[in-house]
């Protein structure tokens, strides 16, 4: 296992109380695994991915543990986390378009970033050139300002920067949502290529769009209201989902492989519960057609078949 997350709890402290945005997920990520992380907006995907690299100012670590390649990751300690960041855990941010300092030439920025992390830029330069070429960029992008690059070029540059130090874990949060369909596909293929070339060991690819992640992910994990609903191989999730929420999520999507234009998204009726005072028991209860008394108690996230985990009383 590259990554093991156990009972992780991260809340947002607000004036009105704690928002339980991440309430105890437990899961693992195997070596070489690309995991798609899916769920409606507000289900806690970003909170989970940020927790693994850098808590933002409003997030509070409450409990649980994270290990990477056998080492404990001190996500509650911003200083100690610096050792892990970039070198072992890296991210491609949602805002790749504006991730680079607008007033620095890209090459200079990369050099300053690397040197500040104790990596000699000169020793990395050749590899940097090779990887830029691999994603179809000329090395002279290094002499340009971010403004001089098109959106797709910026996206690819950031992907190269983020993975330059061969991290064990790469987190990509909604990296494709701002792109057009053909660029989305190219970005997705690049991610797979980076894994195949061992630039990164394992990956968490966050998306609210299951059909996109299906093309590249080995496994898919579905979140609902700060908790895990289901995790299994991508094929299993698409073809034989067990959690009622996963089923409805898939039904709301066009057939995998069918273009969006052909079918309108129907969406799932109702909306997720607020996480300030989440309901007792299964958080999907008010929207679930199968809900009954038993669901007043929280269903555990258990392995119902080999490598197929579900949190639902009715999933046998």
């Amino acid at each position: 296992m590259t990554l093991e997350v156990s009972d992780l709890q991260v809340y947002y402290r607000t004036l009105r109380g704690d928002v339980r945005a991440l309430d105890g997920p437990t899961f693992g990520l195997a070596d070489g695994e690309i995991m798609g992380l899916a769920g409606e907006s507000g289900s806690g995907k970003s909170t989970l991915s940020k927790s693994l690299i850098r808590l933002d100012g409003r997030m509070r670590y409450i409990g649980g543990s994270v290990t990477l390649d056998g080492d404990e990751v001190p996500i509650w300690d911003d200083q100690a986390m610096n050792e892990f960041r970039y070198k072992r855990i890296s991210l491609i941010p949602q805002y790749a378009m504006s991730a680079m300092n607008p007033t620095r030439k890209i090459g200079k920025m990369i050099a300053e970033l690397l040197e500040s992390r104790g990596v000699r830029f000169r020793d990395t330069r050749d590899e940097l050139h090779r990887r830029l070429e691999l994603v179809g960029l000329q090395r002279d992008v290094l002499d340009r300002y971010p403004l001089e690059l098109s959106g797709g070029m910026k996206q690819r540059t950031v992907m190269v920067i983020s993975t330059l130090l061969n991290p064990s874990l790469l987190i990509a949060d909604e990296v494709t949502s701002a792109l057009d369909v053909s660029t989305q596909r190219a970005v997705a293929e690049t991610l797979v290529e980076f894994r195949d070339r061992r630039f990164v060991k394992s990956m968490i690819v966050v998306t609210h769009d299951i059909s996109l992640v299906y093309q590249i992910a080995d496994t898919i994990m579905v979140m609902y209201a700060g908790r895990l609903a289901e995790k299994a191989s991508a094929k299993t999730i698409i073809e034989m989902p067990k959690h009622p929420y996963t089923k409805m999520l898939l039904d709301s999507l066009p057939e995998v492989g069918v273009k969006y234009e052909d079918k309108r998204l129907s969406g799932i009726p109702g909306s997720p519960p607020g996480l300030l005072k989440p309901p007792q028991g299964c958080r999907f209860r008010d929207r679930c057609p199968l809900a009954d008394k038993q669901c007043l108690e929280q269903p555990p996230f258990v392995e119902v078949e080999r490598d197929h985990h579900v949190a639902c009383w009715k999933a046998e």
């Binding site: 970039y86 991730a99 680079m100 300092n101 007033t103 500040s116 403004l147």
Partner: protein
């Protein structure tokens, strides 16, 4: 880039032409007759002598000519650097009066703007990184910027000048002195300079500090800062980038402020009876001296136009984003 500056220069020339024309028109539309009022104050009893003098002055200032002739004359002498002769301080040429006032205005404004810029930015940058400083500087800065300049100036003149008697509160130098390169004159000059300088310095300080602090905090929360921090970049690097980017608007701001220098600090010079350009304007208005008024205004207009052109250049030089866009970047 050449096209950009070519267009700018054209606009500036057009503005200049319009400004000169308006400038020529306004005093002529003002009520009252400057020569009559001047003669009235000379209180001549002999009516024929008054008549003769009136003719003489009118002739001399060219007011008896048709308007279009006056307008052409105006341009012609302007191009020769001749702004006419002052009525208030007859017969000193307006150009001489302006040149005599300019050093005082510059001596007041340049140091106060530049020093307040440096000190303000320095405080602001520190406030952005220390809670303690932030909690003291920020409220102080807001109080300073919110204080009307008039109050601040009068308060300083009254407290440090009149009550404490530390500095003279009026004039450019001691009344009994003549400008000379002597220690007595220079020390008198400096002590008269201090209060108006301090008032301008203080009133600008808070604005710079608050601006810098807010810009840095904005940059520190921007996405490139977030990305750097997620990649474990040390605070030092993140701060350096934020500081540099926050400086860009401040540099442009400084250029804009320096552009106002030529306009003088009318209020300051009135409160402290300091004999710069602002003081000249006041005298010109009070004495209906429209040559002087025209001359000072023209001087200011030309100065503002030049300053603005420099600002345009600075703006392009300082920020790579603007530079790149002008050379036709990718997007």
């Amino acid at each position: 880039m050449r096209k950009y500056f070519g267009r700018k220069i054209f606009v500036y020339l057009l503005t200049f032409f319009a400004a000169v024309t308006i400038n020529w028109m306004i005093p002529r539309l003002m009520p009252g007759d400057p020569i009559k009022s001047r003669l009235a104050r000379a209180s001549l009893t002999d009516a024929t002598a008054a008549e003769a003098l009136y003719e003489y002055f009118n002739n001399m200032f060219g007011l008896d000519q048709p308007l279009w002739q006056q307008y052409l004359n105006f341009w012609w002498s302007l191009l020769q650097g001749d702004l006419g002769i002052s009525i208030w301080n007859f017969p000193t040429p307006v150009t001489d009066l302006i040149m005599g006032a300019v050093p005082y205005s510059l001596g007041l404004l340049l140091p106060s703007i530049i020093l307040s810029w440096f000190v303000g930015n320095w405080f602001g940058a520190y406030a952005a990184r220390s809670k303690w400083l932030d909690n003291t500087i920020l409220p102080l800065g807001y109080v300073l910027t919110a204080t009307p300049y008039m109050w601040l100036a009068l308060l300083l003149a009254w407290s440090l000048g009149i009550v404490a008697g530390l500095f003279p509160a009026a004039g450019s130098y001691g009344l009994s002195l003549q400008p000379a390169f002597t220690w007595t004159f220079i020390s008198s000059l400096l002590s008269h300079w201090f209060l108006p300088f301090l008032s301008l310095f203080l009133v600008a300080l808070g604005g710079w500090a608050i601006g810098m602090r807010n810009m840095i905090i904005y940059e520190l929360e921007s996405e490139y800062s977030n990305y750097l921090q997620a990649l474990g970049a040390p605070r030092r690097l993140v701060r350096r980038y934020a500081f540099r980017n926050a400086m860009l608007p401040q540099i442009t701001g400084l250029a804009v402020q320096l552009g106002t220098v030529v306009a003088g600090a009318l209020l300051t010079e009135i409160v402290f009876s300091y004999q710069g350009l602002g003081y000249l304007i006041l005298q010109a208005i009070q004495n209906q001296d429209f040559f002087l008024l025209q001359g000072t205004f023209l001087f200011i207009v030309i100065g503002v136009l030049i300053a603005n052109f420099i600002i345009d250049v600075v703006y392009v030089l300082v920020d790579p984003r603007v530079r790149v866009q002008m050379q036709g970047g990718a997007k």
